[in-house]
Symmetry: C2
Subunit: 503 residues, 2 copies
């Protein structure tokens, strides 16, 4: 009887997940393939698919099935597929029920329509043309918050969508730690070094060849992955066996390569989820922070490590002849160069979190109407000077640089910094479990890392809460900023000769 | 009151069309972009989206709205948007209601799963591995036919899906005319000529450059079109402003280019539908035969004409240096070379319809269980020898060559031949209306042709029946094979020196 109800629930969820993955394809295509004039009708299509998925998920029948199954689920093993599905979906359903289908559809349509406006506004450095769609997205996000009971701060509501159970207060406390301990590192480096970052003229075709060799070594295979260029890179896909990552290319530096590694990390998390979770809401990463820990791990802890480059730098020199005079340590210093800069996605590891703190504070201010939205560029520029010590020459490289607000994503940014912190927590554990991990990179082997991640983290998908998941992997449910600052200080000591420890 | 009901109907249809276009994207992506391991989950996604669209369309509320609106619609001008929508959708609804949603979903799923099986079977020349999925598709198609009342022949039912109102008997009569008047042309040519078709070693990059120049001259623009390679070319898209055509490339000949022109013709039909029909079931070509008349027109009547090549051949010679010794008449003869061959999509204009007649007869035999399905390759090969006088060396170039049966499309093939015939009917009319049409090609101008097609045919979309549409354009509702045979005889007289007329 309960098994039959569970099967019915699973069937309904499978249909909803088909729609969710179809929506993901509509979005991927919009950013990667669609001709520009397709934007208007695409917005309608995304809104329709999203609305139907939402309506089907929030149907009272789903609620009744969940109610009927709650006791049965609680009798199963806590980490069983059945118990986990009922537990996680019950919470999703309670949240989703609070948001009217029309509001969802309006948010989806508004985000789709705003995207091409943002692309144009960024291209033309024209914040004014972006302002109306930003205002619309923000208004809709406020209406969304109003669907929930605010216990402490309104921002808690949007944060919970991306990082379940995390509160604004907790994030603020973690970020305060970073302000205290990470920001000084940047000053120490500045005091040690007045080097300028060299610029290059890297060939694009050779970049594509190289990045493909790298991600193939990491675990990308043509039978289940795609890699395509886009304006603002992201990872997506239609299932565990169809993973799509995107990238972009620069001639002056290798930023595109690190972006590709980053998206590979996201993709691998989805690729290594247990097959059995396919077509259920459990078949994805547990939270955006945990997801970001994976992308930052492959980008920074692997991709900016010396062992990695000992393996791959000779090949890069073959492909980019202007690097012939370099030695690998020089290149390692260059790809770990620390300097406050304007663009978040190109920021180094030492300054990256400062970009996030700025956005975290601005988002709360926007939700709280702390200033007229017309002033957003000024507020952005003022804080950029305050946290990074640099002037913003135009909105293109300032407030218009990120895609998120055009997509209505508010509350998302903090997860990037949380991901950095989690990646270092995981890294200490992995290196304890697999002592010769870094030397395996030097041999071009990434299977041990992939396998560890699948076994301890990826395969579980979304079965547990982010806190439970972290606890299973590293033994504590708390996001702890110390390992990251320790890692960073160690690396900068190595490269810039600052003190490796502080008293 | 009626206006409000009409608006409600339009709203429901808009949602359904969003799903239909989303399904089109799932299909386009499957054939053009998807990594192979995505096939299983994609089949589920396509089945789900198709099932929901079908369920929403066949909802009793839609039927009630149509009933309530029928009198009101009949009071509007016959060719008004409102009257046309109610009239066309009523017939669609009556047909769709007869097919259970589960059968639709099963047909969609089965087709998705069969596609990769067909791709592998064709690659490995292994009909046996394709047989089970073909049998499944065929069984489902029979179940589909059983949902309708067969008035005369079962094949009428599947034919009507692709070519509304056309009966098997009518097609047979037309094809008998072709057997009598077109087949002898091929023999006459054979008696005049024992030339061999030269083979080439055309560069692929230069081919891509050239075909882009050609379709841009035709009317392809980057803001609303895409062109991508695939295994079996087709045209698709997500709306009037997002048209996607596909192609493939050969080194030995220019077949890929003519395929691209062909798909351009399909794409242009969808691109020039009146904007006002967007998000309604009227926003597409009126029938597959009429659609094919457009693709064959651009491929053959434009793309294989001497005026076209007078304009474009010098550029092709620049890009493909091995053509330097040619003159344009020699090239014109070559691209119009007549010789019975194995592959339908590469067949010349004189033999093409014979490939179709073969398939038309085999499809009826399969539906009638006239032989065990295992024997299909033998039956194919026997008829190929009978109609074309050639031996089929393997199933790859025989029964496995076409994608259609893997997709469950039975009844589709005849529309290709009907399209050829319609294209010649239209061509006589266009040339009467625009006397210097062909000389405009020599000037590289295709706007006059595009404009004529938009004004007389494309903009109407599916507002009228195929017969009504044809009557509006050429003055008769009947598909007439004579103009095509007349056109063909004229061209072959020009090239091969056969008699231009018969007594």
């Amino acid at each position: 009887m309960s098994q039959a109800k569970f099967d019915e629930l699973k069937g309904r969820l499978a249909e909803i997940m088909d729609l969710a993955k179809t929506a993901a394809l509509l979005g991927w295509d919009q950013h990667v393939m669609m001709p520009p004039k397709g934007a208007t009708i695409r917005a309608e299509q995304m809104a329709t698919v999203g609305r139907i998925a939402h309506t089907k998920f929030t149907a009272p029948e789903v609620g009744r099935l969940l109610d009927d199954l709650r006791d049965w689920g609680a009798q199963q093993e806590y980490d069983s597929f059945e118990a986990s599905l009922i537990r996680v979906v019950s919470r999703d359903w309670d949240k989703a029920r609070r948001v009217p289908a029309d509001l969802r559809a309006e948010m989806s349509r508004s985000a789709s329509l705003a995207n091409p406006v943002w692309v144009e506004a960024r291209k033309n450095d024209d914040f004014a043309s972006f302002l109306p769609v930003l205002r619309k997205n923000l208004d809709l996000r406020k209406q969304y918050i109003d669907c929930f009971e605010v216990k402490d701060e309104p921002y808690d509501i949007v944060l919970d969508d991306y990082e379940r159970d995390m509160t604004t207060k907790q994030v603020r406390r973690i970020f305060d730690y970073l302000k205290e301990h990470q920001a000084p590192l940047v000053k120490e480096v500045a005091a040690q070094s007045d080097e300028e970052l060299p610029t290059h003229d890297f060939g694009l075709v050779a970049q594509k060849v190289f990045e493909h060799e790298v991600v193939r070594a990491f675990g990308f295979t043509d039978d289940a992955w795609r890699l395509d260029p886009t304006v603002h890179p992201f990872a997506s896909g239609t299932g565990i066996t169809d993973i799509r990552i995107t990238t972009r290319y620069f001639t002056e530096h290798m930023g595109g390569l690190f972006g590709t590694m980053h998206e590979f990390g996201h993709g691998l998390y989805e690729r290594q989820v247990d097959d059995r979770l396919e077509r259920t809401p459990l078949a994805r990463g547990v939270s955006l922070g945990m997801h970001e820990s994976q992308s930052r791990m492959w980008e920074n802890l692997v991709g900016r490590s010396l062992p990695f480059w000992r393996r791959f730098f000779p090949r890069l020199q073959e492909l980019q002849p202007e690097l012939a005079p370099y030695d690998v340590e020089q290149w390692y210093r260059e790809v770990n160069f620390v300097q406050p800069s304007l663009i978040r996605v190109e920021a180094d590891e030492a300054t990256y979190n400062l970009h996030i703190i700025l956005r975290f504070e601005l988002e709360q201010a926007m939700l709280g109407d702390e200033f007229p939205l017309e002033q957003l560029p000024e507020e952005w520029n003022r804080r950029t000077y305050e946290y990074l010590g640099i002037d913003v020459p135009n909105d293109r490289e300032g407030v218009l640089q990120d895609v998120h607000w055009s997509g209505g994503s508010i509350g998302y940014f903090p997860t990037y910094a949380l991901g950095n912190l989690i990646s270092a927590q995981l890294w200490e554990k992995i290196n304890a479990d697999v002592p010769d991990l870094e030397s395996s990179f030097e041999a071009g082997e990434f299977g041990p890392l992939r396998d560890w991640l699948r076994e301890h983290l990826h395969r579980h998908g979304r079965k547990f809460t982010p806190g439970e998941t972290l606890e299973r992997v590293v033994g504590t449910s708390e996001i702890d900023p110390e390992p990251y600052v320790r890692y960073l200080r160690g690396k900068l000591a190595d490269i810039y000769g600052i003190a490796a420890t502080v008293a």
